[in-house]
């Protein structure tokens, strides 16, 4: 049985906060190992063969490409391997180990972000992901649901038309040969869309907002976005911290209010609700406490300072602390609950 989607979403945010703060290669490796274990356990449950080899391949490619690009284009660092002529545009200069390591760290970070989302794709079904869209965007969700529902029949129809064209002697090799496939597919699909829209109207579905508060909701969202943007701009130019935090807080309150008000006005019937067991509620409470503790740690206890590392200007060994190891192991939490 799938775990409730909310648990996975909170896990994703915790993992993202930890990974994006991390530049220490030892911690990154520990985190990537934990994520790989979680992913392979899930892939085994879902019957996805080859997941681990595929993701390992992607990870290795990202590390290699990032290291190569950074080594060729960034020429800072004290440990010089060799030098390319300065006259060579962009790549001319010292090739250093520090820039190679910095590039590898970035590649490892990108690979770990890909791992997190790959695990999320394994853990959640398409319907669970669609249900995560807030009721405020119900018409958009309706479009997505229609698209996902019609996808298999459109694939089937495409195959039928392609076979019919092949029988009629169309080689289906050049781009122009695909027009006799695309036109009947589009025509029949658009006719289906008209029939569908009439069915929706007959059943009383209406996508237009029922009241004039829709403009007010949009205004709140716009104001909230602008407040957060202003707080960010002021933070770059060293304005007083309390002003930045005030703007962030007001913007956050506006956006949360937007979702609460619009969600409460949209009356949606949810069929086949997710099953929540007692242990899922316990896991939710634990994750919420962990998220709050992590936020306090990052904002006020300088956890992120323990996770940083830079190979510049000269190579040095990364520091290892117990706090750092514990934070690096956080993405592997699902291993405790997965069968």
């Amino acid at each position: 049985m799938n775990k409730p989607s909310l648990l996975w979403v909170i896990w994703m945010f915790i993992s993202l906060i930890v990974m994006l703060s991390m530049r220490n290669p030892i911690y990154l490796l520990i985190a990537v190992l934990s994520l790989s274990l979680v992913g392979s356990r899930l892939a085994e449950q879902r019957g996805r063969k080859g997941w681990l080899s595929q993701t390992s391949g992607f990870l290795a490619t990202m590390i290699f490409l990032s290291a190569l690009i950074n080594t060729l284009f960034t020429h800072t660092g004290q440990t010089v391997l060799f030098s390319l002529p300065e006259s060579w545009f962009l790549v001319g200069g010292n090739i250093t180990i520090e820039s190679m390591i910095y590039g590898s760290i970035n590649g490892l970070l990108i690979g770990s972000l890909y791992l997190i989302f790959s695990i999320l794709n394994l853990a959640l079904s398409i319907s669970q992901m669609t249900r995560l869209i807030p009721p405020a965007f119900q018409p958009i969700t309706m479009i997505i649901t229609v698209a996902l529902s019609f996808y298999p029949s459109i694939q089937q129809r495409t195959l039928e038309i392609k076979e019919a064209q092949l029988i009629r002697g169309n080689p289906m090799k050049k781009l122009s040969d695909w027009l006799p496939l695309l036109m009947p597919l589009l025509t029949s699909s658009l006719e289906k869309a008209i029939t569908l829209s009439e069915s929706m109207t007959a059943r009383g579905f209406s996508s237009r907002p029922a009241n004039k508060q829709a403009n007010l909701d949009l205004a709140i969202l716009v104001v909230g976005t602008f407040l957060i943007f202003s707080g960010w701009m002021l933070s770059l130019y060293h304005y007083p911290v309390f002003v930045q935090r005030l703007l962030y807080s007001l913007g956050g309150i506006a956006i949360i209010s937007f979702f609460i008000w619009t969600n409460s006005r949209k009356k949606i019937t949810r069929l086949r609700k997710e099953t929540w067991l007692k242990k899922d509620y316990l896991a939710l409470a634990f994750l919420i406490i962990l998220s709050v503790s992590l936020s306090i740690g990052m904002l006020w206890l300088n956890f992120n300072e323990q996770l940083t590392f830079s190979p510049y200007p000269a190579l040095s060994l990364p520091k290892i602390t117990l706090t750092g190891i514990c934070l690096a192991l956080l993405p592997g939490l699902p291993l405790l609950v997965l069968p």
């Binding site: 690009i69 996808y151 495409t158 699909s189 869309a193 403009n215 949009l218």
Partner: protein, 265 residues
Amino acid sequence: MPKKLSGILVGSLVVLVSSISLMAPFLLPALRQSGVQTTFPVVAGLMIGLCLLIILTEIQNSVLTNQLIALLGILIAINAGLRFLENAIPGPAGFSPVFLLIILTGYCLGGKIGFLMGALTMLVSGLITGGIGPWLPGQMITAGWVGQTSGWLRILIHGLRWKDTKMEIAILAGFGAIWGMLFGLIMNLWFWPFLGTSSGIGYLQNGLLIENISRYFSYYLTTSILWDATRSIGNVLLLLLLSRPMIKLFERFRQRFSFKVTSTP
């Protein structure tokens, strides 16, 4: 008129905020300091995500009817199938068949519908192929802009009375070529902060805007030009070969999809 004005104002604000967020390392020297670089991807991602929510809210409140919901659902299903095909049977380098329908939908049915077509194609194809990731908001908003700007082409072409002429197809093909390159350019801006702004591009700390942009273009030409060029060429070929009959089809259905059911009080 007030609704159109508010739509224009909201759109302008979104373009301003999202452009500044993407171009921030070039425009704002303060962002090139090492202490700020680690938070930049998160904040820029949040801003782009919020801009996307604003546009989606504005469009769903203004133009979406049952007919358009059904129409978009079906067209997005077709386009998601094309994207699945692109992943399953990769064409040369960056060739992608999805932009054909996005451009033609925006051109024939309007910029807002084109935006939804682009953005939701990326989301639905991500759901189907398991490609949900941190790149998704950037992909959605950029593909949305492809569809939105193709709506403006209609005003240009109809204004110059080039409808049903060879110039119409030529302009569409040129538009597809430009966006083939622009899409890659914008997606690189979205992706590189995650690489660390001091790698690769090598922003000049005290450099002028022009200096840093030229370094970015030099880097882009060295690493991404081939991929984006094949996407451009693919768009041109698809639009030249397939757009005329598809435009006629969309024009035929356009009237049927603008039929409105209203109730008298």
